[in-house]
């Protein structure tokens, strides 16, 4: 019999263990991408590899763990010793892209593997053609850096000298990478220590029984909720602007079928074929993004574990962008993941119109700048810019907030400037970039960089220049991305994805899209429009054009009569 009290205690114990692991990573990591941006995840799996808890870290990592775990078990089941750690990053064996290195530490109890501590970290660089190993214009995975199948990084608590040397020779900033792997290891150790305490308290049988029940509990909650949704099949299509090699739009299409027994089929048939650029999402990542999208519209108290996944079937045709063949490149697959969220939410909005927001900014922008300083010290900056949410059924979208697929932070300007030859001259909102609506989208962000080194390579990955973040229920789309080189001198407008060599003093300006609007913009409360204008988040022209609200210059008072005339005149 399952005792509800013990179940509650075990659940909070597991939540607290994964959070402790996550906290350990940021406290011990070396690179901005992990310690400031927080692009990493921590989780626990049971002995069969089923995820039983995930820390409040990157959502996109959530569902990739099962497939990666399966690869590790396939290669190493029965061949693991206490103190071993298996590392892998191969997207074709359950990984996501080369920079995301997974560490799995088996946790032993009475001589048997009972669980795994899992920590995924986005490494600053894993070698390959470009600094940051994150180019969107690679055409084969072989260009993207050091690909690791499941291998033992630690054996009986000691890091393998051979693996260490291979990493040292293949990555641009080995001190950072090895330091961050050390941080992942430290977090695994914390997971091992703490899960051991849980086992000591409850004994093997009880601990197993209750972790298994937690999975069932999550499944029950998920099914109970989905079974209340209106049955049917709901489709939605959105696009990536292009893969960067041609101007061809890249469609992503989903058909979500709600079944009576509370499970969903999410079928991606109809999405683009595999692309030449590094935007391919291997199946594990496709599943992950599908799961997280559904999870986002479930109620808050569903535990984040594999029980949720049992209610969601994912179909993606082989050879498509969402289930590519080798050697399809996938470094920039996160972008495809963001669009999957947009597509999924577009379909789910038809199921749950009072819960789903309009499209957000469409994913973070990744900017990598790498080179060598005058004293031949290599540097790699990986900066991520995010984000804005779309308008919601009952409130505005937020500005300056992580994409819900992630839970990322930003790198402080002062930290970047103290560590690297770069100056940031602007970090702020882009006025008027929001999609108009009864509830408007959030504003996009802009960031402006000046290179203080003689030379460096810049890679910039963005999207949403052509296919703008959509509005819902009559809300308008947001303004798109804008990239400009040297905006104050020769002002070269750049595409969404590009690579260039920068010289000292060159300036890069990136503007993110805002979020789409929700509901008819002409029904927005004029006082809210006035408040936005007073805060210089929108201009008087925008207020008039998009919301039909006339404001008095200087005082921002609503001209009620002119507003009524304008709003009525539209119909």
């Amino acid at each position: 019999m399952i005792d509800p009290i013990t179940l509650a205690v075990v659940k909070s114990a597991l939540d607290s263990i994964v959070d402790e692991m996550a906290y350990t990573v940021i406290r011990t990591a070396r690179s901005e991408i992990i310690k400031d941006v927080m692009d990493y995840s921590a989780a626990l799996c049971d002995g069969r590899g089923r995820m039983i808890a995930q820390a409040k870290t990157i959502a996109q990592h959530l569902g990739a763990i099962p497939d990666a775990m399966a690869s590790v078990l396939a290669d190493f089941a029965g061949d693991l010793e206490p103190g071993d750690v298996v590392a892998m990053n191969d997207p074709y064996q359950g990984g996501m892209h080369i920079p995301d290195v997974f560490l799995f530490m088996p946790i032993f109890w009475e001589g048997k593997v009972e669980a795994f501590a899992v920590v995924i970290g986005h490494q600053t660089d894993m070698g390959g053609r470009v600094p940051g190993s994150n180019a969107s214009d690679s055409t084969e995975i072989y260009q993207e850096g050091l690909r690791l199948p499941p291998i033992k990084l630690y054996e009986r608590g000691v890091m393998s000298r051979s693996v260490r040397r291979i990493i040292e020779k293949n990555v641009r900033v080995p001190d950072r990478v090895l330091g961050d792997l050390g941080a992942q290891y430290a977090a695994c150790k914390v997971g091992e220590r703490e899960l051991g305490r849980l086992y000591a308290r409850y004994g093997r049988d009880e601990a197993r029984r209750y972790t298994a029940e937690l999975l069932d509990y999550a499944e029950r909650l998920t099914r109970a909720e989905i079974s209340r949704w209106p049955r049917g099949t709901y489709t939605f299509t959105d696009h990536l602007d292009s893969d960067g090699f041609s101007d061809e739009p890249v469609p992503l299409r989903v058909a979500i079928t709600v079944h009576a027994d509370g499970h969903l089929t999410c079928d991606w048939t109809g999405s683009a074929a595999q692309v030449r650029a590094a935007l391919n999402s291997t199946l594990s990542f496709t599943k992950s993004c599908t799961y997280l999208s559904v999870r986002s519209v479930l109620r808050q108290d569903v535990p984040n574990n594999a029980g949720v996944f049992r209610c969601i079937d994912v179909v993606a045709p082989e050879g498509s962008i969402l289930n590519p063949h080798l050697p399809g490149a996938c470094a920039a697959r996160a972008l495809t993941g963001y669009r999957m969220l947009d597509v999924m939410l577009g379909a789910l909005a038809q199921v749950l119109p009072d819960r789903v927001p309009a499209a957000g900014e469409g994913g973070n922008t990744v900017l990598s700048i790498g080179g060598q300083t005058a004293d031949r010290r290599p540097f790699v900056i990986v900066d991520m810019i995010t984000g804005a949410w779309g308008g919601r059924p009952d409130k505005d979208g937020m500005e300056a907030v992580t994409n819900p697929s992630q839970n990322m932070s930003n790198t402080p300007v002062e930290v970047l400037e103290a560590q690297h030859p770069i100056r940031i001259d602007e970090y702020g909102f882009v006025p008027d970039s929001c999609g108009p609506g009864r509830f408007r989208g959030g504003l996009g962000l802009r960031r402006r960089y000046t290179l203080l080194n003689d030379e460096a390579t810049l890679q910039l990955r963005s999207d949403r220049m052509r296919f703008l973040p959509y509005g819902l229920e009559g809300g308008g789309p947001a303004r798109g991305t804008r990239n400009v080189l040297n905006p104050d001198t020769d002002a070269r407008v750049m595409p969404a994805k590009f690579a260039v060599v920068l010289r000292r003093g060159d300036v890069v300006l990136h503007e993110q899209p805002g979020g789409g609007g929700f509901g008819d913009p002409f029904t927005r409360d004029p006082e809210r429009v006035a408040a936005d204008a007073r805060n210089e988040k929108i201009t008087l022209e925008y207020a008039r054009r998009e919301h039909g609200v006339v404001l008095e210059p200087g005082t921002f008072k609503v001209d009620a009569e002119a507003t009524r005339a304008l709003r009525e005149g539209r119909a």
Binding site: A8, D19, A186, Y217, P357, Y427
Partner: protein, 696 residues
């Protein structure tokens, strides 16, 4: 006979403690007056002085902990702040760190910035990361922007320029120009509040300071005037978030340091108590009406954190998540808080799981058993149903209890839906609440590599001693110490605080040669400043203790460990000891350490004004109190076993030699539960000490 006063102003009650020179302690709990918190203090103190027949003129000091700063933020009642930033960075405050406190929550709302965009203006100026001037300060532009802010109603101006932690020349100049132009306005610059790297954290802290300035100054002036009006002329002191006390003038100038004022005092008091009770390693465990708090005291030192977020609701024990509130990067006692208090409501979620809190029945309607209209079961109702709390009255008879209502509420909302008996459900409520509280304790011990079994649990707050035995048992903690007057211990603790001032300077550099000289020069600067500040507050050099601290990390990391500097100076011959101390601390926290190079991020000086008369917990005698109780009642300690007839004693009746559990000890302000298998005794300081048996 001289007297000292400690005051803890909480949301529901204001606790006042009067300590006479002969060691007698008089305590009083009065209802708080949130609209003017000073009122409850002044009235309550006047009554207490009268009852004790002490002349107001005999009061030599009033120390108080206040929630005025935190409530001002919660209720958004602070100043209209105008913020001046470097050109290009007016949105730093609103952008923040862009994370969300939870995953998968599309309905989350970011906290409103304390300064709206319209009152954040940019100024032409720029200093580079190496201190070079990229662009000089545009003085005319600065004043023009300030004029606009003032015209828009700003009554405080905050200044936060990029890289001012490296070189504050522009901020200093801006400050001077603004003060000269607007003599009636408050001006607060980031280099004074927090001269540290990371523009958002520094700006946010500066803005919170600005936001609180006028409110806090008014409140302190008001309180001082009220006290004078009843004849109390003694200096007024405020407990800071780090547990030290500062003069009212200092608190009025830098209120951001007093946001965590109240809870900090309890922990500092526990540390002080530990020092005299020969318990230098302890966990302060404070359970009140809506939350429970835990904090670690090691080797007699409280655990300090250098940043935390102030947020509405309850902070979870998940310290790595930051996003939900207003960032304050100030030294504060590291306190984990969970929504499990006496008034926390038990409920069943959609998956059929029993939950407790964070919603609380508060003082109104209160637990169902108070009979004031509360119908939902709380932790207190569970305690009444199981016999832990007196089923007829609490607070020495001042509060009637209706045990039947407690049982009915538990039956309707927990027992029936789960198919359990009322006793089983009540045990469930207690167990879930205990597990939540254990989580708070875990986050300050296990999460940092400390084994809770090496610590004594010091339990206080009205309900701390009711749960301490079980919470300790869940973590295999063997020893629980319940101080005298646990229900007003926070106020008592204030009388035991020292005056403390914390200073910090960035010292960014490797741990060698020139960097050491720079760091030592900054230590000297801070030492001079510290001595001057304390001298003003009446502490001559021989009553000041100075401690130097270094924030160290491996090169490239983002988080530092704070390590004491041997003899307060960074000289080459002391470095090995410093490195070794870092390695020890690092290994204890993270499970590994390496021989990689270290970097020195900040140096700190903590200056303590030693109060010759501070309370040391020896010879406390509580005057007044309640009629002694005695008897027995049925208490259900174990849901798999029948309730046992359990003796009930008055605190005074606990034998010094000890008594075996099960036992319940009742006093005016708290109930102490001693589970079966445990024992209790009274120590030489009159504390109750519970010893738990070995567990499996």
């Amino acid at each position: 006979m001289s007297a000292r006063v400690g005051v803890d102003i909480g949301g529901t009650f204001t606790d006042i403690v009067l300590r006479l020179a002969d060691g007698t302690l008089r305590v009083s709990k009065v209802s708080s007056t949130p609209e003017d918190p000073a009122l409850a203090v002044v009235r309550g103190l006047e009554a207490l002085l009268r009852a004790a027949a002490v002349s107001p003129a005999a009061v030599v000091e009033v120390v108080h902990g206040t929630t005025v700063a935190s409530n001002t933020i919660l209720q958004k009642k602070g100043a209209r702040v105008g913020l001046l930033t470097t050109r290009g960075f007016r949105d730093v405050l609103e952008i923040g760190r862009v994370r969300t406190p939870d995953l998968f929550d599309l309905s989350w709302e970011k906290p409103e910035p304390l300064v709206p965009r319209r009152r954040r203006l940019e100024v032409d100026e720029r200093i580079a990361a190496d201190g070079a001037v990229v662009r000089p300060l545009d003085e005319a532009g600065l004043l023009a922007a300030a004029e606009r802010l003032v015209a828009d109603g700003a009554d405080v101006i905050a200044v936060s320029f990029l890289n001012s932690y490296v070189d504050a020349t522009h901020e200093r100049r801006a400050e001077r120009l603004l003060v000269a132009r607007f003599p009636a306005l408050d001006v607060t610059a980031s280099y004074r509040v927090l001269p540290e790297i990371k523009e958002y954290e520094r700006t946010s802290t500066t803005v919170v300071n600005a936001y609180l300035l006028p409110v806090m100054r008014r409140y302190l002036a008001n309180l001082a005037a009220g006290l004078r009006a009843i004849g109390v002329e003694a200096p007024l002191l405020v407990v800071a978030s780090n547990g030290g006390v500062v003069g009212a003038a200092g608190a009025a100038e830098r209120p951001v340091f007093a946001v965590g004022s109240g809870p900090a005092a309890g922990v500092a008091g526990a540390a002080r108590l530990g020092a005299v009770a020969e318990t230098s390693n302890l966990i302060a465990f404070d359970m009140g009406g809506t939350t429970a708090k835990a904090s670690l005291v090691e080797q007699g030192r409280v655990s300090l954190t250098t940043e935390y977020e102030f947020r509405e609701g309850i902070s979870t024990s998940s310290r790595f998540i930051k996003a939900g509130g207003y960032m304050l990067k100030v030294p504060a006692i590291d306190i984990a808080e969970v929504g499990a208090g006496a008034g926390s409501i038990a409920w069943i979620d959609a998956g059929g799981l029993l939950r407790v809190g964070p919603e609380s029945a508060g003082a109104h309607p209160g637990p169902a058993c108070y009979g004031q209209g509360g119908g939902r079961p709380t932790v207190t109702d569970a305690n009444v149903a199981l016999g832990f709390l007196n089923p007829a009255f609490l607070a020495g008879g001042e509060l009637r209890i209706d045990a039947q209502r407690a049982r009915e509420a538990i039956h309707a909302h927990v027992a029936a839906p789960l198919g359990l008996s009322v006793e089983e459900a009540a045990h469930g409520i207690r167990d879930v609440a205990n597990a939540n509280m254990a989580r708070a304790i875990r986050s300050v011990t296990i999460e940092r590599g400390r084994d809770p079994r090496d610590f004594t649990l010091v339990a206080f707050g009205g309900s701390g001693p009711v749960h301490a035995g079980d919470v300790a048992g869940a973590l295999d903690i063997r020893r629980v110490l319940v101080p005298v007057s646990p229900g007003v211990f926070t106020a008592v603790g204030m009388l035991a605080s020292d005056v403390e001032h914390h200073f910090v300077r960035a010292a960014g550099g490797a741990l060698d040669g020139p960097a050491l000289d720079r760091a030592n020069a900054r230590i000297d600067e801070m030492t001079r400043e510290a001595l001057a500040t304390l001298a003003q507050e009446g502490y001559p050099r021989d009553q000041v203790r100075l401690d130097g601290l270094a924030d160290l990390r491996y090169v490239g990391q983002a988080s530092e460990l704070v390590i004491p500097i041997p003899e307060g100076r960074l000289t080459p011959d002391r470095l090995p000891a410093l490195r070794a101390a870092f390695a020890r601390e690092y290994a204890a926290t993270y499970g590994y350490a390496s021989d990689e190079p270290l970097e020195l991020v900040n140096v700190r000086v903590v200056a303590t004004g030693l109060r010759p008369s501070r309370l040391d917990f020896r010879a406390i005698r509580v005057a007044g109190g309640i009629p002694p109780v005695a008897g027995a009642r049925l208490v259900s300690f174990d849901r798999r076993a029948p309730a046992v007839n359990t003796p009930v004693l008055a605190r005074e009746a606990v034998p010094a030699a000890g008594a075996a559990g099960p036992l319940v000890v009742e006093s005016y302000d708290s109930t102490v539960v001693v589970p079966p298998g445990a024992s209790i005794r009274r120590d030489a300081l009159d504390n109750l000490v519970i010893t738990l048996g070995a567990t499996s």
